[in-house]
């Protein structure tokens, strides 16, 4: 089992060798051979004009349990309100539910959860609420177990959650308990009209390669979805839907973790992950004091302030502000990159922003390859001009 080369069909053209991201294909004696390092990613399959590459499986996958119906959205709460991503997922979930001619549900866990109606206005046909003091701090193990239990009872075919810090931490546990497949950080969701399967598209290699994934045999099909990729529909207050309140039996059940305290970055007025507009600085700012200029620009725009890696490594800016492969991934409407060269690792964290403005005095800076608008100039001149223009019209 694995990647096979049909030696009759292989003409030794070597096209596939160029397509392998792992360098696992090699020309040996005029035909292609598979080396160690092949991860069965499938990148080479389409590249062969002669259909000589096949990924063979031992057995046909068993068919999925047809009794699972409906699309559910895990509605994450933050400070008593539902996160924006919940509404984004309801809008997208609505399309999927309609394509499957099934219901759209929402599920939320926590304590003192209010405004459940907003989820119905956002598109849900029904909402399952698990409200218990034991879940106030969202102990991830208990919540994962409970959510899995609820899913097993109601059997949605598809479950979506935001690929937020919480989502990426706790949803995999739910998938593991259910023994089903989970696709992380999706940027595209579609129902395959032929098979009815959810086709989940997500970025890999820091966003430089896209993969489409299916979960054919297990249910539910689960995805975490990158926040801010889908747009929430306008709420329809006239929508009606059912609310199911479920008990959480906390007898004899304790979480293996306990939240002792937390510290927020109070200086931050706008959080990076929620921001529509982000102003980010890089090494080009030269000195920590110069970030004050970006804070001013951000203030004028109602934006959050982010950073590439070097200012964080230098200690000018705290780590939670770092955007990039080893920091946060953001997807704002507008990303203004000041003095950022655009290394691959930084792009991985921001290249899906709707509009990118790059300000850099080096015309060869890679950031200009992903920018929508580029200003080649001295940021110490450009940024003050922007601030001035914005404040004074």
């Amino acid at each position: 089992m694995g990647l096979l080369i049909d030696l009759d069909k292989c003409i030794g053209c070597g096209q596939c060798i160029e397509f392998c991201p792992f360098g696992a294909l090699e020309m040996v004696g005029g035909k292609v051979e598979v080396r160690e390092g092949c991860t069965l990613c499938g990148a080479c399959l389409d590249s062969c004009a002669y259909e000589a590459l096949i990924i063979e499986e031992l057995e046909a996958t068993p068919a999925a349990d047809e009794s699972y119906r409906g699309v559910w959205v895990f509605a994450e709460t933050k400070d008593g309100e539902f996160s924006r991503v919940a509404y984004e997922l309801l809008s997208e979930g609505r399309k999927l539910a309609d394509a499957r001619q099934s219901e759209l549900g929402a599920v939320c866990l926590g304590h003192d959860i209010g405004a459940v109606d907003s989820l119905i206005a956002g598109g849900a046909d029904r909402v399952c609420v698990v409200d218990s003091p034991a879940l106030a701090d969202f102990p991830e193990d208990l919540c994962a177990r409970k959510l899995a239990e609820v899913i097993l009872e109601y059997k949605p075919e598809i479950v979506l959650a935001g690929a937020t810090a919480l989502g990426r931490s706790f949803i995999p546990r739910v998938a593991a308990i259910l023994g089903t497949g989970l696709t992380a950080d999706c940027t595209g969701l579609e129902i395959d009209p032929e098979t009815g399967l959810l086709m989940q598209t997500r970025p890999t290699f820091g966003g430089n390669l896209m993969a489409t994934i299916i979960c054919p045999g297990k249910r539910p099909q689960m995805s975490t979805v990158r926040p801010r990729v889908f747009k929430p529909d306008a709420p329809d207050q006239t929508r009606k839907g059912g609310v199911i309140r479920l008990d959480f039996n906390s007898e004899g059940v304790t979480s293996r973790t306990k939240l002792l305290s937390f510290v927020e970055d109070l200086a931050e007025t706008v959080k990076l992950e929620d921001a529509d507009v982000i102003v980010a600085g890089g090494r080009g700012l030269e000195k920590p004091e110069n970030f004050a200029m970006l804070e001013e620009l951000a203030g004028a725009l109602g934006a959050a302030v982010g950073s590439s890696r070097p200012p964080v490594d230098e200690g000018w800016v705290p780590y939670p502000r770092q955007v990039g492969q080893t920091g946060k991934t953001v997807c704002p409407k507008l990303y203004i990159a000041c003095g950022i060269s655009g290394a691959v690792q930084h792009l991985a964290g921001m290249q899906t922003a709707d509009v990118i403005v790059a300000i850099n005095d080096d015309p060869a800076a890679p950031i200009f390859e992903v920018a929508t608008y580029g200003i080649i100039g001295d940021l110490f001149k450009v940024v003050p001009m922007l601030i001035d223009r914005l404040k004074n019209g």
Binding site: G42, A176, G181, A184, F205, K218, R256, T326, M385, R389
Partner: protein
């Protein structure tokens, strides 16, 4: 303390580009490296051993060439290393990977902490850590930025959850994933390199790990990749021209038009 650290060998650059003329991958001598987040995981494991005593075992699931990152791990403080390699493991999704790793953790004997990096730079999912914890039945804490103290069965941790730091108390045994902020990984030492060179790194396959054949590799993967493609970059940067004040005006007008500001 018995500490296990999970490491993965990944391509050295995520800059997988397509040559627009030939429509093929531009592979500028991609060499393999250890996933950067995993170096923080290993460093934390070694630091915990220095604080509390015990042993650090580095584990990697991968093809035979992944042995190189395990040797580096030995040179950088790990006491032992083991490679999980078998053709049957190929094609594993995150769950099948977590299952295979769990078999190795079981085989190593009683384990107090398993440390993983936050995510890999090729898969980017961050799913193996939490799934591993569920399979093992261990406590799970993600995005750990500091291990404040370990006291018997309890561990006090600081973690970065989105925009805020949380202090948690967790019960051992546990699986934790770590973020970059947690430490600065040390460089290998010369004595470590000498030790690593002569060390034996056992290779455990499906048989040694006594795996359930239905749970590993492609067979054990609930998810399947059906297509891999390069994202279309429709954006072509509009490099503004003219005097700077004019450029700034133009930009602000365009952004206002698009309702972005």
């Amino acid at each position: 303390m018995n500490i296990a650290v999970c490491l993965k060998q990944v391509p050295g650059t995520t800059k997988v580009e397509i040559d627009p003329q030939t429509n093929t991958l531009v592979r500028q001598g991609i060499e393999n490296i250890v996933n950067p987040f995993d170096t923080y995981a290993l460093e934390e494991g070694v630091r915990l051993r220095e604080r509390y005593g015990g042993k650090v075992t580095a584990i990697s699931m991968g093809p035979p060439q992944a042995e190189a990152i395990l040797r580096d791990a030995l040179a950088t403080g790990a006491d032992e290393a083991v490679l999980l390699s078998d053709a049957a493991f190929a094609g594993a999704d995150t769950w099948a990977t977590a299952y295979t790793l769990s078999r190795a953790v079981d085989k190593l004997g009683p384990c107090d902490i398993v440390i993983c990096g936050r995510q890999t730079i090729d898969g980017d999912t961050g799913q193996v850590g939490p799934e591993l914890a569920e399979i093992l039945g261990f406590t799970f804490v993600s995005y750990v930025s500091q291990v404040e103290e370990i006291d018997g069965e309890h561990m006090r941790l600081k973690r970065l959850m989105g925009e805020r730091y949380e202090i948690l108390e967790a019960l051992l045994p546990a699986v934790i994933t770590v973020v970059k902020e947690i430490n600065t990984p040390r460089l290998p030492s010369l004595r470590g390199m000498a030790k690593a060179k002569s060390a034996t790194i056992p290779v455990w396959g499906a048989e040694e790990l006594e795996v359930d054949g239905n749970k590993i590799g492609l067979t054990g993967s609930a998810t399947r990749v059906i297509k891999v493609f390069f994202p279309q970059r429709t954006q072509r940067a509009e490099i503004l021209e003219g005097e700077l004040p004019g450029q700034v005006d133009y930009l602000i007008d365009r952004l206002r038009e698009a309702n972005l500001i």
